[in-house]
């Protein structure tokens, strides 16, 4: 396995990888700067209701007279940072759990993996729904629910990576030299895990966005009047004729998630040896 290098690997510069990076960069920029240039206040209900998209309101207005375009931009600054935070937390927690289970084995492995299995025994949205409902509908509770259902995949992956690396010669050499488990993990194992975990995390940002907006759609995430893409689409259920209420937020979700999936897929080509782009090995 290769160490993570700082130079952009050539395999990333594919149409897919570049498209994804550009779109994701735009959205992240919007997410962090949107509040600075919203055309209207996303919460103000003073515009004419249910207006079709026009010059004044690029994406129309909803049933309460709010500007959809502003709400869309505002929604980006809600969902995207939260999704990234959520993924970071799940990744950290899951990776640590997996590393402990894989490195120390035996008892740790049994207990920790049982927890992992238990969470993975439920389909994700269902479990997240149940947790979010129990905690009470709010955006932060939805985030917590999402973290709970997301960490196990990191644990599983890390564990299997650590298990396969643990027996490598250089790791054993390190232990013999007197490395503490922590140092061994940090110096010998961590660099080789970063790649696949990073791929997983990138793809997971898309999943997190879908999950958060899904929970909000179900009424369990962002609460009114917060502008969140999922809840905006839910509102569209009551106003079938006003197509602009549902279509734009959905397109927003689609493009962001697609961008991260494109990036993640390109990263996967770099880090995952089994999806090698060309196989010309010959055993003469």
């Amino acid at each position: 396995m290769r160490f993570l290098t700082l130079r952009v690997p050539k395999a990333w510069v594919t149409p897919l990888g570049v498209t994804g990076t550009v779109i994701a960069a735009i959205w992240i920029f919007v997410a962090f700067t949107a509040p600075l240039y919203l055309p209207y206040d996303p919460l103000a209900q003073d515009l004419p209701r249910l207006q079709e998209p026009g010059i004044d309101t690029l994406m129309g207005t909803d049933a309460l007279g709010r500007d959809m375009f502003s709400r869309l931009l505002s929604g980006a600054s809600v969902t995207i940072p939260l999704a990234m935070l959520l993924v970071a937390v799940s990744m950290l927690f899951g990776t640590v759990v997996g590393a402990i289970a894989g490195f120390f084995g035996k008892w740790f492995d049994e207990v920790l993996m049982r927890f992992t299995d238990l969470v993975m025994a439920f389909p994700t949205v269902i479990l997240a729904m149940v947790i979010a409902a129990s905690l009470g509908p709010s955006l932060w509770n939805a985030v917590i629910a999402a973290v709970v259902v997301s960490w196990p995949q990191y644990a599983r992956m890390t564990r299997s990576l650590v298990l396969s690396l643990r027996t490598q010669n250089y790791v054993t050499a390190g232990r013999l030299l007197g490395f503490s488990p922590a140092k061994s993990l940090r110096v010998d194992i961590a660099p080789n895990i970063v790649g696949p975990i990073l791929v997983l995390a990138t793809l997971d940002i898309g999943t997190a966005i879908l999950l958060l907006s899904g929970l909000s759609f179900l009424g369990l995430g962002a609460q009114p009047p917060t502008a969140e893409w999922g809840s905006m689409i839910s509102a569209a259920m009551q106003n079938f004729d006003s197509w602009w209420i549902g279509v734009f937020p959905g397109l927003a979700i689609l493009t962001v998630v697609m961008a991260f999936n494109f990036i993640g897929d390109s990263l996967r080509d770099i880090f995952d040896p089994t999806s090698a782009l060309s196989r010309t090995e010959v055993n003469a």
Binding site: T280, V282, N283, A284
Partner: protein, 269 residues
Amino acid sequence: MSDVALSIRDLTIAIGDRKAPKQIVGGISLDLRAGRIQGLAGESGSGKTVSSLAVLGLLPANAVVGGSMRLGETELIGLPLRELRAIRGRRVAMIFQDPSSSLHPQIRVGAQLTDHVRRHLGYDKKKARAHAIELLERVQVPGAEEALSRYPHQFSGGQRQRIAIAIALACDPDVLLADEPTTALDVTVQAGILQLLRDLAIERRLAVLLVTHDLGVMSAIADDVAVMRFGRIVEAASREQLFTAPQHEYTRELLAALPGAQGAKGEPT
């Protein structure tokens, strides 16, 4: 002199991307004669396996093959795929190194023995089945009839290779290519397989190409031996000649590396 079943002339093989293909084989010539075993020896990387794969067109898509390989009247290089498929398994057959991976783990032995027979020879189910039993008996796999409905993993390594040989013989080919047929097997079992190959070659007038790095195996059954190095043949002679009076220095090195050779020279390797 026996007839030449397969004639290879100036075979070149290059593999890699179109701009900078790597040359693996740089022009070799060989004849495979009916009833005789032609050995092709060399270390890994010498190009011997690649050469054997080239005969049936089993190289990766980005391989460029040059020269000539004549099977009787037919030129194999550049042959359209449809015609090549008619030859594969029918006039030229191949057995591979590891029978645990070259037999499909999820298909019964009987089916693997008969699917190509039915395609090439048009036998019906009953005839193909009877034929398969005959083959298994010839290669000395016990309990032939029950064996048909068993899976490869239920046999030992040696038996699996015998099954692979039976599959190769099924359509009565003229040429048999054997790529390291005993390398993956226990030493105790190797002799039996080699003997089987030799008997079959004589009995069925098969032209056999035996590819292996193991000169011990070579000395056991090959009639003629060609030594390959870096994609070229450095020496080709009959077995007696090669093993008693090797001409090329590389051949002598290989022979010296054989266990038991140290005794004669008195030097540790």
